[in-house]
């Protein structure tokens, strides 16, 4: 399963790689990373139909997570990827907007990787 992680923090990459170390080893998941919304869109259009799940932070300089969400839902429909938005704790406004714009699920910071892994299992089943 191809997962695209969008976050402006570069250190998110080694964290994910280590957290999903076993899954990656067992080739259950495959991660790609983008440091901004723009980069993410570029990757999506560069690798069509590859990405199954997009994990995106909302709070980013330049194109925000919500904009990315909007764009993906408008311009990249087939096949529609599952999009999970990562919001800060208690950020109701973003939560509401993300639902309106067509987000599939939510995660709150700090990320609980066990919850994420559970959600991934549901998606794969």
């Amino acid at each position: 399963m191809k997962i695209l992680v969008v976050d402006d923090e570069a250190d998110v990459q080694p964290l994910f790689l280590q957290r999903f170390r076993k899954e990656i080893k067992n080739q259950e998941v495959d991660f790609s990373f983008a440091l901004s919304g723009e980069e993410a869109l570029e990757y999506l259009f560069g690798h069509p139909s590859e990405v199954v799940l997009i994990l995106s932070d909302i709070n980013m300089p330049g194109m925000s997570g919500l904009e990315l969400l909007t764009k993906i839902r408008k311009e990249y429909d087939v096949p529609p990827p599952v999009i999970m938005m990562v919001t800060a704790y208690g950020d109701e406004e973003n939560h509401r907007q993300a639902i309106e714009r067509g987000a599939d699920d939510f995660l709150t910071k700090p990320l609980d990787f066990n919850v994420l892994k559970d959600k991934l299992k549901h998606i794969t089943e």
Binding site: E9, D11, P14, L15, Q18, R19, R21, I58, N59, P61, G62, M63, S64, L66, E67, A88, D91, E93, N94, Q97, K109, P110, L111, F113
Partner: protein
């Protein structure tokens, strides 16, 4: 024979003398002649001597030859120093003797009279000593009696003015000059002199009065006036009351009463009776009233003197006069008693003024008694002059004292004034000090308020930052937590692999753990630096400049500002563009202060783009904030550029003023840019420039000098 010859010769000579002359007519005199007259030209001859001097004989002999008869003497050049002979003949045709006055017109006149064959010689004129003068010495003429039917020949040698000869009618002259003329005796002259002397004293005392304004001098000058009138009494009578004799009586009463009244007043003021003897003073004040009453009665009676019923009036007048005189006398004696009494009292006190007054006045009163026994007409006058002199001296001394006293009073006043001024000065200084203290207090309060305002501005900006900071701290903390968790998991796996004996895998895991620990440390430090920055921001400036990386500072605050705004407005998003010069050296600045400036500029920039985004509501609008740092020759340039609402031209001048803000109430303190200006320009010697077009965005250009 010889005698006859001589006589013939003489007559021949005479005949010869007169023969050559134009006939010299004798002037006929009569008793109806005017007092003085000039002889007509035909009646005299004259001979002027320029260089040569002629004796009488020579003139008689030769004068006829030199004669210049009809010249009008008056028209001739009059000089003082003429020496000439003039001669004329006078004839008395009447039956009585006639006394002619042979006058001299010039300073020195030698008069020769040939009468009945006999020569008579006289001298007269102003230049002749009194004892050598003949005739009327005062009026410079010689009275000469011409017997009835006689004729005389007069030769006069004049030295002085040149004039035609003058003769006079002696009887008329005597009548006019002596008999009808008012004669002033030496007594009059002396008394008049005294009166003048006293009047001078009066004027003097009036001047004193004018200067000192003390009544004493006024009444004393009046007293002197009446004294002068009294002393010159007989002279005044001669002069003014000859024709109006009826006024002389009232005048005497007037002057006498005036004298007495003024004497009483002088006495009162001189001894300051009002203070020392108030009762006596009161009695004395009634004196003048009473005396004036008497005066009026007497004057009235006197004036009634002319009307009918003269006898009745005269009787009543006499009675009243007697009564008035008696009462005046009684009063006068009473006054004398008082005077003596007061003098004794003052003398007992060894009063200087009383002694002076006594010395002055006693001879005056004594003189009335003395004059009865001593046959010297000037007794009273002398005593009066004495009294006036002494009193004047006393008053002068008093005046001197008064002046000294006045000077002292003036000095005291001056001192008092100086003291008052000093007091006022002290008061003023005190007030000024008070005001200054108040002002200083106000200033202190103002400074405190300013500090509080600055602090509150800091806090306000801190508040804006809180959310951003929380976000900024949250991220590193998340990493710390996550990497820690992962590392624990990795260690478990490592344990398993060790059990399996897969050393390759163990090494890989160890590498990861090491990397993770580095990440943990990195994010820990990151959080640490954010907290430190926040602390620094809220703290007062340390005032210590330290080498600072402007790029790092700008980056940090850019992010803080961005996240700060985003914390408030989640939907807000902006592009942060940084063009940091890589070769930028560290420059010495106050990091918190410069950080505050940057934060301020960034916050404003984001605010402006946010506002514009709201106004446009256009998806294509991309809020952008650009930061550029450039190394210049001697400074670092920081450009903060946004594409927000921009600054209207109208307020560009004002935005650096304290408390100026375009934000809604409660959102901005209006101190941000003003403080930024202070920090950059005043604290760092840098510059802030603003370029802006309304609706296009704003650019702030900050220059910080390299050498700090």
């Amino acid at each position: 024979m010889k005698r006859i010859f001589t006589i013939i010769l003489f007559f021949l000579f005479l005949g010869k003398a007169f023969a050559a002359d134009p006939p010299l007519k004798p002037y006929l005199v009569s008793k109806d002649e005017a007092k003085y007259l000039r002889l007509p030209d035909s009646c005299y001859h004259y001979l002027e001597m320029d260089r040569q001097r002629f004796t009488l004989k020579q003139v008689i002999k030769n004068g006829n030859k030199e004669i210049s008869q009809h010249a009008r003497l008056f028209e001739m050049n009059l000089t003082n120093n003429r020496n000439y002979w003039v001669w004329y003949r006078l004839k008395n045709d009447s039956k009585n003797a006639y006394i002619a006055a042979l006058c001299s017109d010039s300073g020195t006149s030698d008069i020769y009279v040939l009468d009945n064959g006999k020569w008579h010689n006289y001298k007269t004129g102003d230049n002749i000593p009194w004892s050598e003068k003949s005739g009327d010495k005062n009026n410079n003429y010689i009275p000469y009696t011409i017997e009835a039917g006689h004729e005389i020949l007069v030769y006069i040698n004049e030295r002085g003015y040149l004039s035609s000869p003058k003769i006079g009618n002696f009887v008329k002259i005597v009548q006019d000059t002596y008999i009808n003329k008012v004669i002033f005796t030496s007594e009059h002259v002396v008394s008049f002199g005294l009166a003048g002397f006293i009047l001078f004293g009066m004027v003097f005392n009036l001047l004193f009065y004018y200067v000192s304004r003390e009544k004493l001098y006024l009444v004393y000058s009046f007293l002197l006036f009446f004294a002068a009138l009294t002393i010159a009494d007989s002279a005044i009578q001669e002069l003014y009351f000859k024709e109006h004799t009826q006024w002389y009586g009232p005048f005497e009463v007037f002057e006498g009463l005036g004298f007495v009244i003024m004497f009483i007043y002088t006495f009162r003021y001189f001894f300051n009776m009002k203070d020392y003897f108030p009762r006596l003073d009161k009695i004395l004040t009634y004196f003048p009233h009473f005396l004036f009453g008497c005066l009026l009665i007497m004057l009235g009676l006197y004036l009634c003197n002319d009307v009918e019923n003269l006898k009745v009036l005269t009787v009543s007048l006499l009675i009243l006069l007697g009564f008035a005189g008696l009462s005046a006398g009684v009063l006068f004696i009473g006054f004398l008693v008082i005077l003596v009494w007061v003098l004794i009292i003052f003398a007992r006190r060894k009063d200087k003024e009383a002694r002076l007054f006594t010395i002055a006045v006693v001879p005056f009163f004594a003189s009335f008694i003395v004059s009865i026994f001593v046959d010297w007409e000037w007794t009273t006058s002398a005593a009066t002059v004495w009294a006036i002199l002494i009193l004047s001296w006393g008053l002068f001394a008093r005046y001197k004292d008064l002046q000294i006293e006045n000077a002292r009073v003036a000095l005291e006043k001056e001192e008092e004034r100086n003291r008052l001024i000093a007091q006022q000065n002290e008061l003023l200084e005190h007030q000024v000090a008070e005001r200054t203290a108040e002002l200083e207090h106000s200033l202190e309060e103002l400074k405190q308020t300013q500090n509080q305002l600055i602090q509150s501005e800091k806090m306000a900006s801190l508040g804006e930052l809180t959310a951003g900071i929380a976000h900024e701290i949250q991220n590193p903390l998340n990493f710390v937590n996550n990497f820690s968790d992962v590392s624990i998991e990795l260690l478990d796996e490592m344990q398993e692999e060790l059990d399996n004996g897969d050393t390759e895998e163990v090494k890989a895991i160890a590498g990861d753990i090491k990397q993770n620990l580095e990440k943990i440390a990195h994010h820990g430090r990151r959080a640490d630096s954010i907290v430190k920055g926040m602390l620094q921001h809220s703290r007062a400036s340390s005032g210590q400049k330290e080498p600072t990386d402007i790029n790092a500072l700008a980056d940090e605050y850019l992010r803080l500002a961005y996240h700060g705004l985003r914390a408030k407005d989640k939907s807000f998003n902006a592009s942060l563009v940084t063009h940091f010069a890589e070769d930028l050296p560290k420059i010495k600045v106050l990091p918190q202060d410069v950080g505050r400036v940057l934060l301020n500029l960034f916050t404003n920039a984001f605010y402006a783009t946010q506002q514009k985004g709201r106004q446009l509501a256009d998806e294509t609008y991309k809020p952008t904030v650009e930061v550029t740092t450039t190394l210049k020759d001697d400074s670092v340039e920081i450009i903060v550029k946004d594409n927000g609402t921009g600054i209207p031209d109208a307020i560009q001048d004002k935005i650096l003023q304290p408390f100026f803000t375009t934000k809604p109430t409660g959102e901005g303190t209006g101190l941000g840019l003003s403080l930024s200006y202070d920090i950059v320009v005043k604290a760092h010697g840098g510059t802030i420039d603003i370029e802006s077009a309304e609706g296009q965005g704003a650019t702030f250009i900050i220059n910080l000098p390299l050498n700090g």
